[in-house]
């Protein structure tokens, strides 16, 4: 910066500053993301109950709804989990939209030609990939939790809804695509959260990236086991 060039003050329009610190937004993103990842681990392990049979899977579903009974009313624990998850999802989406808007303001007119040198496919698809995963979660709740979008319909057992849904190759395809997108989202997300919370350095960088990759593959692999097993008739 040896040459200091300054445009006329009159010509320089003050850019609209972000109201909230960009790093604060990233911390909200990282912390809410970690909460959601912890939930995903429990969700994936719970799904594997399907291999222990119909009773085990339905019993697990029933247990989640009755934890703490009779000391607390039915569904208390589940409601608390749902409130925490909903808050995390809202915080995650708020941070994403705020950073997206800030980035748009920071470069309203893009390059005529722009090429990536280092960015991974995962990091490039965080925003639209996140939108798709978000829409998938809505569909997933309507399908398997509430049953309204499920071929078996509501009022059936979780196991029946699962088998009915994944017997349809089209529904399985939607789940597979969404889960792979989620896996990529997590790979970049885990690395990014480590950076944002100030826990990365040159020595750890490789380990963090390797962990993010292995974790995402194992988690998504565990999720994918269930629909593929139903589709190929291993579970029915």
């Amino acid at each position: 910066m040896a040459v200091v060039t300054v445009t006329q003050p009159g010509q320089r329009r003050a850019p609209k500053a972000a109201k909230t610190s960009s790093v604060f937004k990233k911390v909200v993103m990282a912390v809410s993301g970690i909460i959601l990842v912890l939930y995903l681990i429990a969700h994936m392990i719970g799904n594997l109950k399907v291999f222990a049979g119909r009773e085990s899977f339905n019993g697990y579903s029933h247990w989640i709804r009755t934890i703490g009974e009779p000391a607390v009313p039915a569904q208390t624990t589940l409601t608390i989990i749902r409130i925490v998850l909903l808050a995390a999802v809202i915080a995650h989406i708020w941070a994403a939209i705020a950073l997206w808007r800030q980035a748009k303001r920071a470069r309203p007119n893009g390059y005529v030609t722009k090429k990536a040198v280092a960015q991974s496919y995962a990091s490039r698809t965080m925003r639209w990939g996140g939108v798709i995963v978000g829409l998938f979660v809505v569909y997933h709740i309507l399908d398997l939790t509430m049953g309204v979008a499920n071929p078996e319909g509501p009022g059936t057992t979780p196991y029946d809804r699962l088998v009915a849904g994944f017997s349809n190759p089209l529904i399985t395809a939607v789940y597979v695509i969404a889960l792979i997108l989620l896996g990529m989202h997590l790979r970049h997300g885990i690395w990014s959260a480590t950076q944002t919370l100030g826990q990365s350095n040159k020595r750890r960088e490789r380990t963090v990236n390797l962990f993010a990759l292995v974790f995402s593959v194992v988690l998504i692999g565990g999720f994918l086991l269930v629909p593929f097993s139903v589709l190929f008739g291993l579970v029915g």
Partner: protein, 279 residues
């Protein structure tokens, strides 16, 4: 670190045998022309002939400008100073990458990018750094004083003036001094902002925060430095960091992403300790 890189560049340059000297090139340039900050700007196509592979990218633009001046046209404005890769003045988006990093094969500044990296008949797109915080002055020249204001907001230490103190009176661990020096190699060219999909200046600010924060002399102002510099970069209208890594890849000095993690660590610690940005 930088010296070995530049050494390597020179070695490959002198390896050219005169008998095997490649032919000079004819190139098509598509250059962003903008008359001033208020002008809308557009890409204009030019032809340059007889470009030697030994020329630097800026010398190639000099050839174009001489041709434009002789024809009575307005020469293309671009920033440059030392042309040795150390001042941070030059900086162009070349074929969509900052400092032509996609073409260079290694960390470089625009002035250290040589025409041997291109082929005869190539079309080269040349644009200015694009960010709200870097308004275009003219053509390829942008106002980067936003980076100076980030420095002013905290990129300093307070030291008593007078005779230089005994150099060994404050000992610095080798590991810390090496890391601080790596961060201090930042020349403030703005390639990190230009390359960032969010137009964030995080790598620049992180390099400055690391450079001073790792040294004993930087400790008294460590907390207020990081909160004020981050607040200033937000005020300048830069985007937020999403840890993509384009900045570090484009950086002529190879400033590492670990500096961003260190900035975040320092910032969270400073906020916990009650430091708040000056408004």
């Amino acid at each position: 670190m930088t010296a070995t890189r530049e050494g390597a560049t020179f070695a490959s340059g002198t390896a050219t045998d005169p008998a095997m000297a490649p032919h000079n090139m004819t190139l098509t340039l598509r250059i962003w022309r903008q008359r001033g900050p208020a002008d809308k700007g557009r890409m204009v196509t030019y032809q340059v002939e007889d470009i030697s592979p030994d020329m630097s990218f800026l010398e190639m633009l000099d050839v174009l400008n001489e041709k434009l001046i002789l024809a009575g046209d307005d020469p293309v404005v671009f920033d440059h100073d030392c042309r040795e890769g150390i001042c941070g003045s030059c900086g162009l988006m070349i074929n969509g990458t900052a400092h032509g990093r996609g073409t260079s094969g290694g960390p470089t500044t625009t002035c250290q990018l040589h025409m041997r990296k291109f082929k005869d008949g190539d079309t080269i797109d040349i644009e200015p750094w694009r960010a709200t915080a870097f308004p275009v002055i003219k053509d390829l020249s942008v106002d980067r004083s936003a980076l100076d204001r980030i420095i002013q907001s905290g990129g300093y230490i307070s030291a008593p003036t007078g005779t230089a103190p005994e150099a060994h009176s404050i000992l610095v661990p080798k590991k810390d001094s090496d890391a601080a020096f790596d961060a201090a190699t930042c020349i403030g060219c703005g390639a990190c902002v230009a390359a960032c999909p969010n137009a964030s200046s995080m790598l620049f600010t992180a390099a400055k925060v690391s450079h001073l924060g790792l040294l004993p002399q930087g400790q008294p102002e460590r907390n207020e430095r990081v909160v004020n510099m981050v607040a200033q970069q937000d005020r300048e209208g830069f985007g937020g960091c999403t840890n993509i890594g384009e900045c570090s890849a484009a950086c002529p000095k190879g400033i590492s992403m670990e500096n961003i993690s260190r900035l975040n660590h320092d910032l969270l610690g400073a906020l916990r300790a009650g430091a708040r940005p000056k408004s």
